[in-house]
Amino acid sequence: MRGFDPFLNFAVGGLLIIGTLLVYAATKSWYASAGLDPQYYMKRHIINIVIGILLALGTTVIDYRLLRAYTPIVWGLAVLGLIVVLVPGVGSTVNGARAWISLPGGFQIQPAELAKIAIIIGLSMILSERGHGKDEPTHKDVMRALGISAIPIGLILLQPDMGTVFIISASVVAMIAVSGAPSRWVAGLLIVALLGGFVAVKVGVLSQYQVKRLQSFVDPTADPQSSGYQLRQSRITVGSGGLVGKGLFNGPQTNGRFVPEQQTDFIFTVAGEELGFLGSGFILLLFLIILIRAFGIARKTQDPFGRMVCVGVIAWFAFQVFENIGMTMGLMPMTGVPLPFMSYGGSSMFANMIGVGLLQNIHARQRG
């Protein structure tokens, strides 16, 4: 058994440390001026990281191939969570999406984050099993894969959490593409995704809140009071950082709380303003290292199941990073997805760390 990939650990560790500082920077003066503990968010964030690291280690302990056995349980729990969250009085609504289950102690969990892992493992299983002597998944395999993804995706659509739907759908398409499935499927799925997005806006599947967010992406001045305001503030905050930034804890936009949700979805704006192009570029570089190393693992592993898991995790991380940072810089519409390894929030942190655990697990158990 080989050890863990040190570059991957370095990049993830770097993001966790920088993320902790940014969460502190985003909340310090806000809490201090309200007479509260300025380290409140940072402390809880560190607890989340510690739990996340334990989960990641736990994920690496048992051979990932044995995980297959637990897949139906993980999937079932995720779907159950997604159903429970929709029950009025149980799920709590934040920013228009009923996505959180409140737990005692002020903690909240987001079943959609768990669903990401369930779908990735479930799909990897279906798309890598070769029971009929064939090297590639059949039409039936692809349909089964789509079936088990469609149920959680549909439930998340009901919340509605469009950002997560986008990330999961993109990951599913990427996995099917790499699995060697007939390319007609890949093309077809891409067309369906585009049409689906268009129809969703036109027919009104999207709630008013979602449409507003999408419109304000197209025209940031359309609604200056809410989402357009946020996008504008976010872009200004990143842009005002310049080359070297205003210095950690010294960002006037951040300290003035001009960007809402800054410790969670808009954490990247803190990096943009306070660390400048050098600091935020370094963060992008760390994400790029994680993705490149993960591709390396995917290429080297001889096990199709492990490769599919790698591809799923890569697509998940990549699309989530692109959606989140793209949103803060005005490249993508506003959807409430956190930045992996950096945003404050337990469920996302736990899921991301399990994802890293999976990558290291596969790396450690490569043959040859």
């Binding site: 001026s33 060697g180 992008l284 591709f295 990549a318 810089m329």
Partner: protein, 694 residues
Amino acid sequence: MNQRTRLSLLVTQTLIVSLMLALFGRLFYLQIGAGAKYRDAALSIQSRDIVTPATRGLIVDSSGVPLALNRVGLAVTVDRSVVDKQSDKGVAVLTRTSTLLGLKYADVFRRTRLCGELPKADQTGCWTGTRYQPIPITKDADPTKALQIVERADLFPGIDAMPVAVRNYPGLAGVNAAHELGYVGPLTEGDLAGLNGNTYYRSESIGKAGLELQYDKYLRGKPGIKTVIVDRKEAVTRESRNTLPVPGDHLVTSLDVRLQASTESALADAVARARASGYKADSGAAVVMDVKTGRILSIASYPTYDPNIWEKGLTVQQAKDLFSDAKGVPALSRALQGQYAPASTFKVVSVVAAAAAGYNLNATYTCPASVKVGNRDFQNFESKPQGTITMKQAIAVSCDTIWYQIAFDQWLKDGGLSPKSNAKDYFFTAARSFQMAQKTGIDLPSESVGRVPDRQWRLDWYKQNKNFYCNYQTRAAKSQLTPFLIALAHENCLDGYMIRGGDAVNFSIGQGDTVITPLKLTQMYAAIANGGTIWQPTVGRAIVGTNGAVIKQITPVILGKIGASASTIAFLHDALHQVVVSGTAAGSFIGFPVPVSGKTGTAEVFGLNPNGTKKDNTSWFASFAPSDKPRYAVVMMVSQGGFGASTSAVGVRKIYETLFGVSGSTANPTKAIFPSGPPSALPVISPTTKVKTK
């Protein structure tokens, strides 16, 4: 791993790395490419400028007595951004406020509207500032009422009360000087946009008229700016800049409050006397100038208004009255904006013209009852024949016919209706040497210019009016269709483009199309008095800092010399003295102990008053004194005031009485306003300087 999987893995990797590179590119664009733009945007989001207005400098008279001061008033202000959001657009809260303060709702409504929000034709009393500053509806609120507003913020949303600096014109010694002092007011959007080349801060007040406008850049000072960094809830997180206000500098003028007050009352008195004699006497002006420097010692215009009304908050009625014909348009300064035919006061120019044309000023001339020019008889004033008299006597008794004859002869010599190319035009040349068609250049805004109807002017005039006069019967108003005016229009249509005999004759006695401002005539008589020097009149003497240091001396400027020889000027001194000794002004100056030289003028005015009556004559008296050592030029004009002597000359005598300390027929030099001439040293400036008592 088969080939196909390897390929699709590579494609996916390329795609994902491209996505990451797109983020790098966007980040580079935002932070490096457009970084400066976003830094500015961030700064404007985070920072707020709090402007503390500077204390405006004082305006004082030549001995330091304040003409314009600052005092603390209690302003009640309206915040439009709050009031407009009320469900009834603020009607209820403004009504409540008006009732509490004892103001009319209509006035309060109007005062809180931007000028652009009101119909173009009816914007009087509107707010000339911007929407983003608290709009004062009064600066003189009763403290107990203001307190009610502050305490019951629930009843008065968007209404606030705060102490503010109020510009105050204290009117010491009874002085008014509204036209000269001007007033201050809020900035307009145009001012803020830098249309006049200056940079202002939103809550500043600036000079809008008179000296307040002319010397605004000195008086205004620099406001203090405190820049604070605010958070999203507008709570101040820290202070980034704090500059203290720099108070404005003081303006020392050459005016004297006692003389100014006396000039104003002499003028008002002249108007009242003319009205008592049955004249309309709608307006007037009086100016006192130091002939050695051109400095203005007093300057008055009638009718006037209280200069403090602007700061108190104009009512709609007050704003309308300022420009109402029925009230005599009090906003207009007659001294420098009114244009009137100078009539006989112009004869000093004619003397200079005659001397230049070679006439012997010491010879005798006939003064018949009338002179025939072409087919028209030009009458002497009141058609009195005076027989054969000297030119000096002709000036003294104000004979017109002698000038008709000289002007007509010279017009004929210049070629008459077919003018020579080298026409001498002695009369026009003399008028131009007095700079009659130029502004005096006084340091007050909005001065009007007089008119010398010479050949070029007539050509221009004809081009503009030919169509009107040639179609007079169809284009003129019904009231204008008198046989005389129709005949005049016919003549104008035929040969209005050239100087006709009648025009030349009219010009020689300051009638016809000749007009002049009272200030210009003062400048001309001061030039005669001082031996021929034309001074640019000045009101400001110096700009003095709050620490007493002189920042700028305002030195009088010589604009030129009148084109008259020393002997001609000596003749004028002699003749103008004779006017007061034995001529038309003798009656007005009986027993006056200081020798005065001057000239009466009684100008005919064509046209009708709004009520259809014929306009009365303009009454003039232009003078200087003492005759032997001239120091002061004094001019008074009363529009529709009747005779020059009985209305204006008497008024001028009253001004001289104050100036020289005259009571009855004795002059007491110790009671004179300036026992040893107008002060040359600058006074110490203090808001508490008292008026000197004689």
